[in-house]
């Protein structure tokens, strides 16, 4: 019974995060300006990281933790680089 509740709740959480990623994707494609797209990309990768953590719980495997950590790291670097590019016109000066 407890396992059923867990799997149903995890499915609901995955659905919510997929909807959240769809919202972020809409904002990423729609714009209207470059900063909106960077913000949407940031939201997209955070939601993807949460989704992978939930996959890990559903699969009862701790291997997904490293994937989530890598997505968090690369997402931070890419968003910071994009914001720096918007600020200056070049990433490293």
């Amino acid at each position: 019974m407890s396992l059923d509740l867990l799997s149903v709740t995890l499915a609901a959480a995955q659905l919510l995060l997929a909807l959240a990623m769809t919202c972020a994707l809409y904002r990423l494609l729609r714009g209207p300006r470059a900063q909106d797209r960077v913000l949407a990309l940031d939201t997209l990768y955070v939601n993807a990281m949460l989704l992978i953590l939930i996959f890990g719980i559903a699969a009862r495997s701790r291997d997904f933790f490293e994937a989530a950590l890598v997505i968090g790291t690369l997402g931070f670097v890419s968003t910071a680089a994009a914001a720096k590019f918007l600020l200056r016109g070049e990433v490293i000066e």
Partner: protein, 98 residues
């Protein structure tokens, strides 16, 4: 124990979804910059707490390495949003129309 983990994960996913909904619904960039942080702060914290509770119960010893992601997100999010906010301010000032 798994019920607690399930509720924590669901609450975190709900917060992330509300944040993304705000990203779509709000009219200007500076208003849109606020709602996704619900997902990045409390949403991530709740999902990580759920994961910690679940794996601690599953393996019957203390599993805390999810704190690493939490610390990392807490450090990186303000830096990103600071850079992005400064870039947006500068772009709005130089070209307010588009």
């Amino acid at each position: 124990m798994t019920t607690l983990a399930a509720l924590l994960v669901l609450a975190g996913a709900l917060l992330a979804f509300i944040g993304a909904l705000g990203l779509v619904r709000l009219p200007t960039f500076f208003e849109r910059a606020h709602p996704p942080t619900m997902g990045t702060t409390l949403g991530t914290a709740l999902v990580l707490a759920g994961s910690m509770v679940y794996f601690t119960a599953l393996e019957s010893h203390l599993v805390l390495h999810e704190i690493l992601i939490g610390v990392f997100m807490t450090l990186s999010t303000p830096v990103t949003y600071l850079l992005l906010g400064r870039a947006a301010l500068r772009r709005e000032r130089e070209d307010p129309a588009a």
